[in-house]
Symmetry: none
Subunit: 193 residues, 4 copies
DNA sequence: AATGAATGAGACTTCATTCAT
DNA sequence: GATGAATGAAGTCTCATTCAT
C-alpha cells in the first residue's frame, strides 16, 4: 500500500473524529471539513468510510500483536510475561488512542461487516495467549488456583482498554505509571495483608 | 409513570434491540417491526426515539442508586460496603442488561444531548460515594495506601460494567458468582501470598 | 343541522386556534388538547378538519351577506350605502375574528378544495354589489370619476379585512370607531383641502 | 453572498411555488420536482426549507429598506416623501411578488421562528419612519389632524401589500399606475369636493 | 361520547457515494 | 487532487383519520 503523507494526514484527522464522536456519528463530511476539502474529494484517497477506520484499527492491531509476540519471545515466568503484556497494552493508550476508542465504542457495530472478521480472529488468538500464561502461572504455583483463567483474562483485558475513556496523558500518571498501578492491584489486591 | 402495559412491552423490545445493535444503529422501524406495527405508530406511545432510551436508562439508574443507598445505610466497614456495592452492580447485569449495554456502547453519543445530563450527575455522585469508601478504608488501615483511590474506583467501575459485553446468564457462573470472583481478586490479587 | 352545545364549543376552540396559528399549522390534536379529549374523539362531532373550518367560515359569510343585504334594502344614496357596508364589515371584526383571520391567512390554501367554491362565488357577488354602488356614485356626481371602480373596491375590501391582523378590541378605538376613521379617509383623503 | 447561479435558480423556483401554494403547503419535493432533481439534492445548496424562504424574504426587505432610505435622503415635504414611499412599495410588487405573497400569507406562521425576528424589527423601524412623516405632515398643516397617524399608516401599509394578491402585471395598469391611483385616493379621498 | 391503538401517507432531512469537469 | 452537483436509500417524525371497545 502506498501511504502518501496526505493520506496519512487524513487518516489522523478521521481517527480523532471517530474517537471523539464515534464512528457512526462521524460523517465523511465532518472529516472533509476538518481537512478543508469537500466530502466527495475524500474518495480520491479512500474507497469508503469503512476503509478509513479499517486502516486505523489494523495499524493498532499489527503493532500490539508484534510487541506482544516480542514479549513472549523474551521469555520469563508467567508473572513477568503478564506484566509485560499489561505494559504493552497500556503503552498503546496514547499512540493508538483513537483505535482503542473505536474498539470500545463502535466494535459492536463494526463487527457485523465481514471485512472486520480479522479483528475477531486476532482477539481470539490474544485470548489464548493470555489464558495460557495465567494457567501456566497457576500450575507452577505462582497464581491462586481458585480463580478462573478466562474470567480473569477478561477482567484484565477490559480494565485496560476501557481506561482509554478517561486516561489523558499529561495527568498525574503517564501510561507506564497506570500500568504499574494496575499490575500492583492485579497481583496483590487492594487489601492489606 | 406513564406505564401502560403496551408501552412497557415496547420499551422492552426496544431495549433488546438497542443492546444488540446499538442505539444509533437501531431504527425506529426496527423497533416497530419487532412489535408488528408501523414505525409512525410508535409515536403514539413515545414522543421520540430518545425518550425510549431515556426510559431504559433512568429505570436502571434509579434502581442502582436505590440499592446502593440501602447498602450504605446498612453500614459496616469499608470492605463490607465495597463488597456490597460490587454485588449490587453485578446484580443489575441481568435485569438491566440492555441499559448497561447502551451505557457502555452509546454513552459517548447520548451524552451530547441535554436530556441525559442527569446521567453524568448521577455518575459523579457515585464516584464520590465509592472513593469515600476506598479512602476511608485506607485511613483505617484496611486498604493499602500506595494505591490511588480515584484510579482504583475507575478500574472497579469499568471492570464491572464492561462484563455486560460477554456475560450470559446460564453459564458456569451467575452474576453473584461473578461478583464473588471479582471481589476476591480485587481484595487479594491473583498472586499467591 | 343539529348544533349541539358541545359541538359549538369545539368549533369555538378550533376557531381560536386557527386564528392564532393558521389552519394548516393547527393540528386536530391541538384542538382536542384544548378540549381535553383525544384527537380521535373529535370525529364523533365532525367528519373532518375541513368541515370544522367550513362551519366557521360559512357562519361568517352568512351573517355578512345578510347584513349587507339589509343595508341595500334600507336604501339611500351610494355614499350612505357604502358607509353602511363599511360599517357592517368592521362590525364583524370582533364576533367573526377567527373566520376573517382564516380568510386572510389560509384562503390561498383552502380555495383549492371544491367544498369552498361557495366562498369564491360569494366574493364575486359582493364585488358586483360594491362596484355597483361606486359606479352609481360616479354617475350621479357623488364620487370622482377619475378613479377606477374595481381598483377602489379592492382597496376598500383589503384594507378592511386586513385590519383583523392588528385590531384588538379594548384599545383606543372600537370597531365602529375604526369604521368611522376609515370612512373619513376614504371619502375625503388625508390631505387638507 | 453564496450566490451560485444554480442556487439562485433554485431560489426562484421555490419562490414561485411559495407564492402560489403557500410556504407550508409547498413541499421540498415540489421544489425539487420543479428543478428536476431529487428532494435530498436540494440540501446540497440549502441547509433547510426555512433558509430558502429566508433568502427570498431578506432580499426583498434589503431592497425596500434601501430605496426607502434613499427617498428619505432626497428630502422634500411629507407629502412628497409619502408619495415616494408608496411608489417604492408598489415598485416591489413585480420583482418581489413572491416575497410579498409569502409575507401576506405565511408571516403568521414564520414569525414563530427566531430566525425571522429580523423581519419584525424591520417592520417596526418602517412603522416609525412612516408615522414620522404623517405626524410631521399634520404638524405643518399638510395633513388633517383629525386622523390617527398609526391607524393611517397601517391602512396604507396593508392596502399596498395586499394588492399582491390580485395585481397582475400586463393588465390595464402597471405598478406605477396603481401607485398613482392609490396616492390620489389616499390624499384626496373618493368624494367630489 | 370517548379511549387507545393503529394506519398510511408523506413531511423534512441526512449521508455515503458517484462522476463529469 | 479537488469541485460541484447530484443520487438513492434511509432516517426520524407528523398527522388526519379509522375503529374496536
Amino acid at each position: 500500500m502506498f501511504a502518501s503523507e496526505r493520506r496519512e494526514h487524513l487518516v489522523r484527522l478521521a481517527a480523532e473524529l471517530f474517537a471523539e464522536k464515534g464512528y457512526q456519528a462521524t460523517t465523511v463530511r465532518n472529516i472533509a471539513d476538518e481537512a478543508g476539502i469537500l466530502s466527495g474529494s475524500l474518495y480520491h484517497h479512500f474507497d469508503s468510510k469503512e476503509s478509513i477506520v479499517d486502516e486505523i484499527l489494523s495499524a493498532f492491531f499489527d503493532e500490539l500483536t508484534a510487541t506482544n509476540q516480542a514479549a513472549l519471545e523474551r521469555g520469563g515466568d508467567p508473572r513477568t510475561i503478564l506484566a509485560a503484556l499489561v505494559s504493552n497494552c497500556f503503552g498503546t493508550l496514547v499512540p493508538h488512542r483513537a483505535a482503542i476508542m473505536v474498539m470500545q465504542n463502535d466494535w459492536n457495530y463494526l463487527r457485523q461487516f465481514d471485512r472486520f472478521d480479522y479483528l475477531t480472529r486476532s482477539e481470539e488468538k490474544a485470548e489464548r495467549m493470555w489464558m495460557g500464561q495465567i494457567s501456566k502461572g497457576q500450575e507452577i504455583g505462582l497464581f491462586r488456583d481458585d480463580i478462573d483463567a478466562r474470567l480473569t483474562y477478561r477482567m484484565i483485558r477490559d480494565t485496560i482498554w476501557v481506561a482509554v475513556r478517561w486516561f489523558r496523558p499529561g495527568g498525574r500518571l503517564d501510561a507506564q505509571g497506570l500500568a504499574d498501578h494496575y499490575i500492583k492491584v492485579l497481583f496483590d489486591g487492594i487489601a492489606v495483608h
